[in-house]
Amino acid sequence: MENEKKQPRFKQITVLFLITLFQLIGCACILLRQKDISAITIYTFLGYIAIEWIYMALGTIITGHDYFELEAIGFFLSGIGLTVCASFSDAYAYKQLFAIILGLITYLGVILLTKDVNLASKLRTPAAIGSVLILAANLALAQTINGTLNWIDLGFFSIQPSELVKVTFIFVGAVSLEKLLSQTSLTKYLIFCVGCVGALFLMRDFGTALIFFFTFILIAFMRSGDIRTIFFVCTGALMCAVLIFYFKDHVAARFEAYRHVWDYMDTTGYQQSRALIYIASGGVWGLGLGEGHVRDIYAASTDMVFALICEEFGLIMGVAIMLCFACIAFFAIHASKTAGSTFYTIAAVSAAGMMLFQLSLNVFGITDLLPLTGVTLPFVSRGGSSMICSWGLLAYIRMASAPFVPPEADPRPLPIRRRRAPRQPRQPMPAPPAPPSRRPMDRPDPSLNKRPPYVPPVERTGKGGGRR
């Protein structure tokens, strides 16, 4: 039992140490290229590394365990993004650090707000109305400013509201479907979805609209099976029809380069063709930080960041990033099996789905396997809104794997009880009851998390487990 607990802790420190080492090397690479060594670069990296260690240390102390795989992946990916930003300029670097801090705050905020499913239910309507209002405000502002961009400029920071709404979109969807709702309630949810996607149509943000649409389908699928299915299918078909009708000309003009990037090399296929040229030029091991040519291309640190990483860090880093997201997705499914309630299951899977879909649109978009839609790479792309959204989504996956256990005196029928019941028959041997004093305050009984004794400890403590 003691060994079992120590094993992952040791691993977690090693992982964090390796991530730190990676970031220090990245920092050194940037400093070596600077004519005058910039203190801001050093402070930014040290600050970021400090945040990682403080988060992990505090987390371990507060929760009494150190299962932080998700956060480790988040930190790793954000660190790559920060390194890319720092290789551009100091201003990019500290803004990105600020974005990561905002992201972490959002992460913790989402965890706190969704800890109690009942509280979350109450927040549904305000969140939905707030989201639609933000998008509407954005639509009004953007139209007067630029017409096509969905940015709100706040001087120091510009915000992309659609990114923030991604987090609430999943929240509203998961809460709405967590309980069997009345028809009117469901109708309200459909109106909300149509409102969100519609606003994005009007903003001509095709990529984000697609992401919302995909997530909507995913959420709908997760909780279908009756008369509501028909509703969802109809709404989905309607959205599709509107999407095709509304974007017909726009899509035709914009996607002419799809699968023909070499014919439109200097017009609509510019970014994709350059991405392919430079990804191949980078080889497996990369040309070295700052040595690439992707960085001279428009949106190099945002939409094109995957190409930049492949060219300078190597294809191996690009594939590593892809695998990181695949791990997050596997984690989400695994965690959803034992999630405290349907809310967590739906939220985790749809959040992972949204992330994966956005990643696919980004990576496969710039490499011409999918049409280019101009979305960001979660965690890695430069930008506050994208970072906030990424960490916000990650929180849902974390919540599925660590459901809140209320005090046992609480009389309400809580999700956690539903979770325990089906678990019993799966235990080949009854777990020995642990002494109550050893139980962490807000965690389920650790004895429940024990795997059957015949499994070797090392395997049992591997990654991706939600059953702890």
């Binding site: 995913l218 699928f221 997760m222 909780r223 099976g225 070499w262 090399m265 063709s273 350059r274 392919l276 040229i277 430079y278 990804i279 191949a280 030029s281 980078g282 080889g283 497996v284 091991w285 990369g286 040309l287 070295g288 040595e291 040519h293 001279d296 060219e311 190597g314 294809l315 594939v319 892809m322 695998l323 997201f325 695949a326 997705a329 596997f330 989400a332 499914i333 959803s336 099996k337 999630a339 309630s341 349907t342 299951t345 739906i346 899977v349 992972a352 789905g353 994966l356 879909f357 990643l359 696919s360 990576v363 496969f364 490499t367 396997l369 539903r418 089906p422």
Partner: protein, 458 residues
Amino acid sequence: MKITVRRAYVFYAVILAFLAGTVILVVNIAMNGKTWVANPANRHLYSRSNDVVSAGPVVDIRGNILAETQGNKRVYNDDVVIRKAVLHVLGDTNGYISTGTQNLYSDSLSGYNFVDGIYTLKKHGVGPELVMNIDSEACRVAYEALGNFNGAVAVYNYKTGQLLCSVSKPTYDLVNKPDDIDTNPSYSGTYLDKVVSGLYTPGSIMKIITAACAIENIPDIYERTFDCNGEYVVTKGQRGVICNDDHGEGLTFEEAMNKSCNAVFAQIAIELGADKLKATADSMGFNSELYAREVRIKYSRFNPPANDKLELGWAGIGQSKTLVNPTHFLAIMGAIANGGDGYAPDRIYTMNGENTNKRGTEVMISIDPETARQLDYLLRSNIANEYGDSRFPNLEMCGKTGTAQITGATSHSWFVGYSQRDDLPLAVVCVAENAGSGMKTAVNVSNKVMQHFLNNPY
């Protein structure tokens, strides 16, 4: 809840699709990276004016530098005639000449490979050296021998496959590219390497193919005699296949070949039939995509009509709609000379910075050894008994001329052949456009190039 969890498993499909996409991406890069990297938009390799900034030097087999990078500029051989003579086989850096070495082997010149990308080039500042089999002096000889005629000349070693000389005209000077290159009709086809991408009416050189078919399908071909009275009439009252001369009666197969008698060969072709002729031609690489190593050859077309005997007769002597490619015929000569296996002409000696040639040979055209032996005899007989060894002093040449009639213009002058000397295992192909009889220009050019190699062993 249970349903929801079970439904979550469908999400595995989404993840699988994603992972499959990742694999496709990596495979795509591994397969096409070479082409992508070579794109002139790649600023690692090209400057904004599309000069190759860091490709490796290209050297000919005698060590003469054909192209190299100095500073940020691609510079070429000092001699303007050599620059013009090797233009097509060397190629440009803008991809106008798509079959040029600088375009086709740009991945090697940039040191690209999947694992390292173009890191080697970044590290050394310049790509690895590429040594060509081409002898630029021989190209100069061929270029000058062609004089005012356009056309193609190529020489290769049929024992090793080394392509030693390859000249295509019209040509231009890479260093001083003419301003009117796109408008002046005299530059028409100048971006085409006619040695690999040219297609010409073959004329009498096609009789080699017809002869091969006859050898394989008419057992008593050498015992038979043929008559020629200046025309072979297929249908009474209609004009037949016109012969270049009245060769008289009692011609043997060998004499008909020597004299290149159209009447006899049209008769043989009609007797053989379209199917057998086409089968022989196809077995020698007609009508199919051929590669001389990495260089794609424009394929020769031979589709004799089965139901039109007159047209079949014309096809049998290399007229009609038949079109052949010079490199293809060079490889056929190589196959005959080499006893069956015609190696692919290879312009590369070493590349990728390797010190020794590891490429070996590759069979491009394969013909039956017995057929090859008999064709070898007939081609030698042509020179010895008809054209005269004095046209090819000391070369022990075998070969066949061709005079390809073009509607509304002077005929193309052809010569294909090879030397039987052990110390000079070279095959040659020459086509001079609108230069008249094969016996004049093409034989003359071929002899000059071959004499160059006889006097200057490489």
